[in-house]
Subunit: 319 residues, 2 copies
């Protein structure tokens, strides 16, 4: 209910997923609004869990724990009580994160759950960047946690047989970085497939599956990337308008631009899993369209089938 565009894209994405995947859906929210959106053919596979409160995007995340009638609170409880296997939300991400951590609890050994964003390698394939904003101030141990969780997710859900893990830093050598990354480098030395530091200009074109950083740096890297991609796209669009040859050229190149758009479109990569909590929680973009919701559901189903949290728990026991 709490996404930027309300329940419409959520329901549409769910219907799309029901057509292609084998699962049943619980839609949590105001039944008066939801009921009419569901075609007869799907009624058997969708159950509406009615609640009336909605946490809005500008509400404080800290208050979420007291809003027991809100859609995100009720949905979290369904996960906690084993009535649902996966939670997908396009609502207030801070509230989702804090409720998931408080109500589901952390996996044994995890000191900080992290948001793992799935991003495109420009040549094809995907990689994980974590943390992407859950933890703005981190210790080296937290980064070590993120590496363990990211490794398991990249292996089980993204399908890398041996995911390479790297630390986002400002130079490839061990001695380059800040106190935090140097500390994390030391802890990660013996981690399987740790390949050292990666710089910002290499993350989109390397073969690294997992890029580890604190949530502040991750969010800056993510947003800056979006900013540059948008700026370049707008630059081309504006100049194309100015000349006839530009317009014809753009028309002839439309296939390329369409492919590029698809490659850069966050909706293709679903949502961001919240790793480290006892449950499969996928945090979608507030502006998620039906395609993004569809992909988030698909991703959540794989995470569940692959028992990702069990694997993460095992990895922490071994570490």
């Amino acid at each position: 209910m709490g996404g930027d565009y309300g329940p419409n894209p959520i329901v549409e994405g769910t219907l799309e997923a029901l057509k292609k995947q084998s699962f049943s859906a619980l839609l949590v929210g105001d039944s008066a609004q939801l009921e009419s959106k569901i075609p007869k053919a799907f009624k058997e596979r969708i159950e509406i869990v009615h609640c009336t409160d909605v946490i809005q995007m500008d509400d404080a995340a800290a208050n979420a724990i007291r809003r027991k009638e809100s859609s995100i609170f009720v949905a979290t409880e369904l996960l906690k009580n084993g009535k649902a296997d996966v939670l997908v939300s396009a609502g207030h991400s801070g509230a989702t994160m804090s409720l998931a951590t408080l109500r589901l609890g952390r996996i044994e050994g995890v000191s900080r759950p992290a948001i793992a964003t799935v991003l495109p390698h420009i040549g094809g394939g995907e990689f994980l960047l974590l943390d992407a904003g859950a933890n703005v101030d981190c210790t080296a141990e937290h980064l070590h946690n993120f590496a363990i969780m990211g490794y398991e997710y990249a292996k089980s859900v993204l399908g890398y047989p041996k995911p390479k893990v790297a630390l986002l830093s400002i130079g490839e050598e061990e001695c380059k970085g800040n106190d935090l990354t140097k500390g994390a480098y030391a802890l990660l030395q013996n981690f399987p497939n740790f390949v050292g530091n990666i710089e910002g200009d290499d993350i989109f074109s390397s073969d690294i599956a997992v890029v580890v950083c604190d949530g502040f740096v991750g969010n800056i890297a993510l947003k800056t990337s979006e900013g540059v991609a948008d700026a370049i796209t707008n630059f081309i669009k504006n100049f194309v308008k100015e000349s006839v040859s530009g317009k014809i050229g753009a028309l002839l190149m439309r296939k390329v631009f369409r492919k590029l758009k698809k490659r850069l479109d966050y909706a293709e990569y679903g949502g961001a899993p919240l790793l480290g909590v006892n449950g499969n929680v996928i945090i979608g973009h507030g502006k998620s369209n039906p395609k993004a919701i569809y992909n988030a559901i698909k991703q959540g189903i794989i995470a569940h089938e692959q028992q990702i949290n069990h694997k993460i728990a095992q990895a922490f026991i071994k570490s």
Copy 2:
């Protein structure tokens, strides 16, 4: 001498600058290599300061202070002794920075000099991002220093009458960010033209003249931007090759692509001034081509004419 391509682009850029600007040049390095590159017409305006040692890109910056015969050491001494007004280097940036700080000293009140990178607003104009890598671990006071220095530089050298200053963070509200940015926000409250936080996706399309952050975050933002721009350009190039219509389209759009390339080309923006030391030091990209050197020299001349360091010193007295 220490740039990635040796002295050639440095000499060519200097000759270009001598044609268009009123100044005389001291070229510091091996006279055996430099002498032959200088056409007769320029001999009167160029003096070669001979030295033989060169700090290589993979040398440790910490040893630079003992390499008294190196080109960067000798060049720094020329600045210190008042024999030169501006130092431009495309060599080892860590060595340049550390020698400048140790030999020239800091401006009174400055606790940490910072590298200020000049970046393009995609719609036109330029902005400063600082620190871009000199200080990987910062306090809120350091960020406050960077804001003061960046403000003066944007005003005097980039030509903003009232430069807007913002903190790079992960949300616009004061409460968003990490401990460092929240502390810096509090210190900057009363700073002239401080407009609050800016997110990574807005830096290339806003009207902010000065973006303040620690050197680790600045370097990540900078490199990530380069990475995305390169990845998009390569993506388009590769797909264009695959079809005839793509090729023709690209040909018709070549004017757009040329403008975009120029807009994104670091060489257009010269080097990065090292702000906070007693002297005008411009740190160029190791891969600087003649155009980058030309622009770095031009920028250094403006900084000198505008007495930027005097203005920074005054600003610290007032602050």
